[in-house]
Amino acid sequence: MEIFPVLLKGINVTLIVLVLSAILAYLIAFIAGFGRLSNVWIIRKFTGFYIEIFRGTSLIVQLFWFFYAIPMLFNVNLGNELMAGVLAISLNYGAYMSEIVRGSIIAVDKGQTEAAIALNMTRFQRMRYVILPQAVRMMLPEFGNYLIQILKATSLVSLIGMTDILYHGNILRSTNLAMAPTIYLLILVFYFILALPLIFLTRKMESISKKGVAQS
């Protein structure tokens, strides 16, 4: 059997897309999450618009937009397929996770803000030292869940020609159709093994998040 080493070649790409997409998605989630809570009307509306667009349309179509449509329409070069893939995945999941950021910040008990005001903290200090540390604890379990989802979503980049695990499996299948069941079984096992540490990480985060939050 040479399936295993062939699939192994794709792990690199899968992991690179996963790591870059996850980092960018978390970053976007915080920016958009705070944007939704902004006092400025236009920022609130703009981030709301972004979130609805990316949550309301399909990730595959977004991926094709970034890879085929946008470069052609606006004559901008997004660099390569890696850029397009990471942008589509992170903007999509960033939109979902921004709701977690926003929801967690809102869920911190109002009494916490009031106690911070009573200590005469500035708005920034209230967020930085009182609200955010508690909100992040609430975000962690959901962030872990989305990390697993992002891992699974990385398989879509094979559709824009990136040589990830699924891409190598598909090539193999096209040369030997009889091996298809074995190939796709092995691909499932690959993704599951990659997801395992993330599952444990999520559990760990859940136990952390149980401590130290005042919920309303």
Partner: protein, 279 residues
Amino acid sequence: MSVTKEVSKIKQTPQSDKIKQKPIVMYEDVHKSFGDVEVLKGINLQIKPGEKLALIGPSGSGKTTIIRMLMTLEEPTEGNIIVGDNNLWKVKKDGEFKRANEKHLRKVRGEIGMVFQHFNLFPHMTILQNCMTGPVQVKKESKASARERSIQMLEKVGLGDKLDNYPNQLSGGQKQRVAMARALVMRPRIMLFDEVTSALDPELVGEVLEVIRDIAQDGEMAMVLVTHEMDFAQEIADRIVFLEDGVIAEEGTPTEVLEQSTNERLQSFLHRFRSSNGN
């Protein structure tokens, strides 16, 4: 016995000076509505430096709202609250009074501290960190000095052995004592107590009142207590204000209000209160 002696001592010394002094807080015809409901209907009230004031009255009478407006947690609908030389909620600009911005509120509320009914300790910080964060972040005090003062204050409230514990490891009474230490290390000139014993199990009320009594004896700080502890108010307050239905219905020394007043609504409140407490 020793308690009554000490209390009479506090009341005597600063009393005569207090009357001459300029008030530290003035409410001028303050109204507050929540939606269509007018909770406060024109409050006029003065607090002198070092004065111990108790606000009593039925629930919903607006007593908590009065101190929450002073802490800048609620904005008055009408009227002025003057703190020192500043109008708390308004800034004069081009001859017109405008709504105060955050910067102005921060400047004025720096002298005010508050203890809440539900403690509102920061659950992700240890007891010591809860106390230190104010001095370090807000007053830019050095960590060493903030730490030392916080430890002293926590020892004063009897929690010197819990410094590294988290709030969820403490009883309600202990939490409330931490909350007081946290407010006190900021050295406020006015301390607000919002029904600080109402969320406590009955057997834990005593230890919290003991600490308030202790703070009151230091004398310099003005204190406003919203309370249902009538006996305690009588013991500790220089002046008692009875609120009903959004207005001040009676005001005076504890003896005047609790024993000599002929105000019918106050009488019926005290009667209801005393019968429900079994005395």
